[in-house]
Amino acid sequence: MPSLKDLKKRIDSVKSTRKITSATKMVAASKLRRAQEQALSARPFAEHMSRVMGQIAAGTPKTDDMPKLLAGTGKDDVVLVVIVTSDRGLCGALNSNLMRNARRRIAALLGEGKTVKIMTIGKKGRDGMRRDHGSRIVHSAELSAGKVLRFTDAQAVAEKLMAMMAAGEFDRCVIFYNTFKSVISQVVTEQQLIPAMVDEGAAKQPGEASYEAEPDESEILAELLPRNLAVQVFRALLENNASFQGAQMSAMDAATRNAGEMISRLTLSYNRARQAAITKELIEIISGAEAV
């Protein structure tokens, strides 16, 4: 039976934990709104981009000197896995879920005899993958400390990817991130970045006349592909950010509720112990008086 003092201490400590979790929840809720808005406002660009991409790619003859970003290197030996995670925890199983999926994929790729390289974005991914795939991590990026994700963050990642591509360091690149469905549901998403996936359906809209291209298709493609890569990365970052805020909010909500339950349970046993002590004292006094 813990003493009264011990119980009191535990109640106080759980109360302060509850304060922290409920504050974190509030912060996540307000950040979530902004993150969601950002993810939403980035969508038109990505949509227009994929439409233009589809049209250009359909109009370009398939030749050998196609940009590598679109056609690939022709091999499929080295796969770069980009893992997007959050910088901070307190978000439930969000990051570990993502990494479990990524690990499974990596194991499958290794089983096929492919070489796997890993690039992590966000602290949690780096720390999580370091233990079993430390030697495969080729680059770890951290997002700028600023509150708002900027497009330049994504551009930096895309530039790094293109530099690696140009150096022939990988043949295929896939990215893992959490897609934001709702506050309580985030879906692990795997997407191929390089070679670029072209939405062929978008290219063949009826009534679309063929385009005149200025300067010409291949030059536009050369401009478009790096941009497209950056946009895809940006979208992954934004989705992941929104997922993180959502997951943090629901995780902290649950934690706050649990803390509340724990407090009421502890308070009950505290009161019981107090009553028991009083009763015991009374019995002692009464039996002392009777003995006289």
Binding site: P44, F45, V52, Q55, F151, E208, Y211, E212, A213, E214
Partner: protein
């Protein structure tokens, strides 16, 4: 044939404009081009410059863009800009910062393409600075 062009200006971070206008002048890499209703479908790269929106015969809005892609089809003009700022929002201090950044890029540029982009950026920014408040 519609008598207006549906104009969309989007940057990766947000949609800046979506409106029906009479004419847009886009600073294409191979020269400025005006888009009127019934324009032939074109896809063009965009150099750093000022995009002008016409309502009637007067310029209603001027927007500085740092480059991107323009697509014209079916009386729609979509400009995918890397970065877009209305000229009215650019004051001397902001322009100075941008010119400095562009000059640094020029100094660091390795290819002809980079050099050209940096040079045109500086030229257009200087021009804007001269007319700025």
């Amino acid at each position: 044939m519609a008598d207006k062009v549906q104009f969309d200006l989007v940057s990766p971070e947000r949609q800046l404009r979506s409106e029906a206008v009479d004419m847009i002048v886009v600073p294409g890499t191979e020269g400025d081009f005006g888009v009127l209703p019934g324009h032939a479908p074109v896809i063009s790269t965009v150099r750093p410059g000022v995009l002008e929106i016409f309502q009637g015969t007067t310029v209603s809005d001027r927007i500085y863009i740092t480059g991107g892609i323009a697509e014209v089809s079916n009386d729609r003009c979509t400009v995918l800009a890397d970065e877009a700022v209305p000229v009215a929002d650019l004051d001397r201090a902001k322009l100075d910062v941008r010119i400095k950044a562009a000059e640094e890029r020029l100094a660091a540029s390795k290819t002809d393409g980079e050099q050209y982009t940096a040079n045109t950026t500086i030229a257009i920014l200087r021009e804007l600075l001269a007319t700025a408040r």
